[in-house]
């Protein structure tokens, strides 16, 4: 007889569980959807970095959305392709602010795109929160906007770190400085130039160029001046071709140095041996330098089939701290969906968030209270070994007031 009621009881339990889970999912749908947008170049020559940025945020959302689902919200990622172009970034920003479910933007890759787009987030959002994993131009946070934050360091510090390294460790006497005429590239090149001059390095040239293929007219005068160091303020896609052609044209001895825009395995894919031995300063270390990021690297590889590009881990952290802030804002709003301004102010309230790249605290301007800066040397012309590049120096510096 006992055998008779047991299956019935099990069936009853199963029905109950099923109906409960249906209820739960209905509850999740009842309170609505929270969307997190990413903006980065997903096509074009910088898409390798831009895609890593999107993937990092995606991984964070997939892994950490559980907390928000428990509170009754569904979480979705909406990736946008800003093509590394300011006009496209602004057009996307207008579409983003028009969607009331989007409470957070992770992006951009390029400061020149982030600056105009964040004006839209602030004015038309209103105060739609943006957390940038990669924008290093000082202006991003120096505008004192309540909604704009970053988890990385700044170009004014980066330029100084580079110039100090060139003077003290590389002991160069003269430098030729080039930049790509973007807000980011020219900005960091100018900081480098000013600091280099103040350290007594002879700056023999300072030029901007949008050239992508034929650098002959730049290299010939540069070579004639025999600088000890060539600094390129810009992105790897241009720098790689320049460095390659400079070595081919017989600039054997000049050292190459650049900012964090150099940080992509594409650099050695294009430049080959010419890039081996060059240095770059960056605000993000290779993912392997962060002890907490081991699981992230494994998960990223399993999910996307390749090693994380630079900024992917920072993007993961940006999304993670953003999710935490949204959770806080929901609680402050009494379990209801918070406004964009509430999310923005919640982000600044987060204290000592344990991310995979370190502990995150934002100061009143949206800068990290202390940011890490690295000087890295390229060790191999094999793109697969990019992650093993040698970290020559690690510094921790507070954002200038």
């Amino acid at each position: 007889m006992r055998c008779m009621w047991l299956p019935r009881f099990l069936a009853l339990v199963a029905t109950l569980v099923m109906s409960l889970s249906v209820l739960a999912s209905q509850a999740a749908a009842q309170k609505g959807v929270i969307k997190i947008a990413t903006q980065s170049p997903l096509s074009g020559e910088q898409s390798a970095l831009g895609e890593g940025l999107k993937n990092g945020a995606q991984l964070a959302i997939e892994k950490l959305k559980g907390d928000l689902e428990k509170l009754g919200f569904r979480v979705e990622l909406v990736p946008f392709d800003d093509q590394a172009k300011p006009d496209v970034g602004v057009a996307n920003a207008k579409r983003i602010v028009a969607d009331p479910d989007i409470l957070l933007v992770i992006g951009h890759l390029n400061s020149g795109v982030a600056l105009p787009a964040s004006e839209i987030y602030k004015d038309q959002g209103p105060n739609l929160a943006m957390i940038s994993p990669a924008n290093t131009n000082p202006l991003i946070t120096d505008r004192n906007y309540p909604n704009v934050n970053r988890v990385c360091g700044r170009d004014d510090v980066q330029g100084e770190v580079g110039a100090r390294f060139a003077k003290e460790e590389l002991k160069v006497k003269s430098a030729y400085i080039l930049h790509d005429k973007t807000l980011y590239g020219q900005g960091v090149a100018e900081f480098f130039r000013d600091m280099a001059k103040s350290f007594g390095i002879n700056v023999v040239g300072f030029e901007g160029t949008e050239e992508k293929a034929n650098f002959d007219p730049i290299i010939t005068p540069m070579k004639a001046m025999k600088p000890d160091l060539v600094y390129f303020g810009g992105i790897y896609s241009q720098a790689a071709v320049l460095f390659k052609q400079a070595r081919e044209k017989g600039m054997d001895k000049a050292l190459f140095l650049g900012p964090d825009g150099m940080d992509s395995s594409e650099l050695v894919r294009i430049a080959g041996k010419a890039a081996v031995g060059m240095y770059y300063t960056t605000v993000v270390g290779p993912p392997t330098i962060y002890p907490e990021a081991k699981d992230f690297i494994k998960a990223y590889k399993a999910r996307f089939g390749k090693d994380p590009e630079p900024f992917a881990a920072q993007s993961y952290d940006s999304a993670a701290v953003g999710l935490k802030a949204i959770e806080l804002a929901i609680k402050e709003a009494g379990g209801k969906k918070p406004t964009r301004a509430q999310v923005s102010s919640a982000i600044r309230k987060i204290k000592n968030f344990k991310g995979i790249t370190g502990t995150i605290n934002f100061d009143g301007k949206g800068d990290p209270v202390k940011a890490k800066y690295f000087i890295i040397q390229v060790i191999s012309d094999d793109p697969a070994k990019w992650g093993e590049n040698k970290v020559v120096k690690t510094l921790e510096i507070a954002a200038p007031r």
Partner: protein, 321 residues
């Protein structure tokens, strides 16, 4: 001041390499204009196709591990031949599809069709490469021998590949000149350029000759594409736009429709560009950088064209009525 002098031979060399590149591309514009009075805006994409065919062959050979086994000059010959074949055939196809159906239409109509073909080809190449390699910014793998430098005196050294560009461009230009002036087909091309109606009355198949013209112009563009890739490494589907524009300018400068004019125009433009880019910053004390090179080069061009409106080698041709 001494810097200006020591730089001179190197800048001259840069300018000549660039100039020959422009000359090769300019031939495509000038030949087509010669027979059809049409500016073939799709020519810059025909040029890019050559570059892509070259990089695809190199990358496949590299992946298969044969790259270092093939003697570099055999490889170069094969690359240029493949690029010429592909671009030549594409040019014929573009003519057949986009221009021939519009043969009787007003002159502006095929011009618009040409711009359309140009956009179509850019994105077709992008689509294909995105599906095939998941990337459309491609880099020519370096061939060690071509990267070697030859020293010519103290102040100047030139990489072997620049020399390769100059020599192959020269060979092609000379053979084209001989072809057009010494062969029967060449004579037919000149006849069609002069007067289509009369040429067809003399028993010349005008459509066939136009196809041949596109084939040759396209092939020159394809060769230029391969050489461009070897020389400057990084290519993408949109690479052709600026060199195409410059080469078109070179064709106009030399006298459009005139084959030796295209060569002269290309070299003059290449030199103007190299000199203005390298010297501008030094001469103005850094006030105008290398990025002003196009402004200076094109201002000089305008001045030249004011005094010689038909180009450097342009003949006075009676307006067709």
């Amino acid at each position: 001041m001494s810097l200006l002098i020591t730089m001179f031979p190197q800048v001259l060399m840069d300018g000549i390499v660039l100039g020959f590149m422009y000359a090769l591309i300019a031939l495509g514009y000038t030949m087509v204009y010669g027979v059809l009075q049409l500016i073939n805006f799709a020519h810059s994409e025909i040029f890019v196709l050559g570059a892509f065919v070259g990089v695809e062959i190199l990358l496949s050979l590299k992946a298969a591990g044969y790259l270092s086994a093939i003697p570099p000059f055999v490889l170069l010959f094969a690359l240029v031949a493949a690029g010429m074949a592909a671009s030549g055939l594409l040019a014929v196809l573009v003519e057949r599809v986009a221009y021939r159906p519009l043969r009787g239409a007003p002159r502006l109509v095929p011009l618009i069709s040409a711009i359309g073909a140009s956009f179509f080809l850019q994105d077709a190449i992008r689509l294909f490469e995105s599906l095939w390699r998941n990337a459309f910014y491609l880099t020519y793998p370096s061939v060690e021998l071509f990267d070697r430098r030859i020293r010519l005196g103290a102040a100047i050294d030139i990489s072997l590949k620049s020399l390769v560009v100059i020599v192959s461009a020269l060979l092609m230009l000379i053979s084209l000149q001989l072809f057009v002036n010494r062969t029967k087909v060449g004579k037919a091309i000149r006849a069609v350029a002069e007067d289509q109606m009369t040429a067809s009355l003399m028993g010349i198949d005008v459509n066939r000759i136009i196809s041949v013209t596109f084939l040759i112009g396209g092939a020159m563009g394809g060769a230029a594409g391969v050489l461009f890739g070897i020389q400057y490494s990084l290519i993408n589907p949109y690479t052709g736009f600026i060199p195409g524009l410059k080469a078109f300018t070179a064709a106009v400068l030399g006298g459009i429709g005139n084959i030796p004019g295209a060569m002269v125009g290309g070299i003059v433009l290449g030199l103007l560009e190299a000199f203005s880019a390298s010297y501008l910053s030094l001469l103005t004390g850094g006030a105008f950088g290398a990025e002003y090179k196009d402004i200076l080069a094109f201002s000089l061009l305008i001045v030249i064209l004011i005094f010689r409106p038909r180009g450097l080698l342009g003949e006075i041709v009676a307006e067709k009525t």
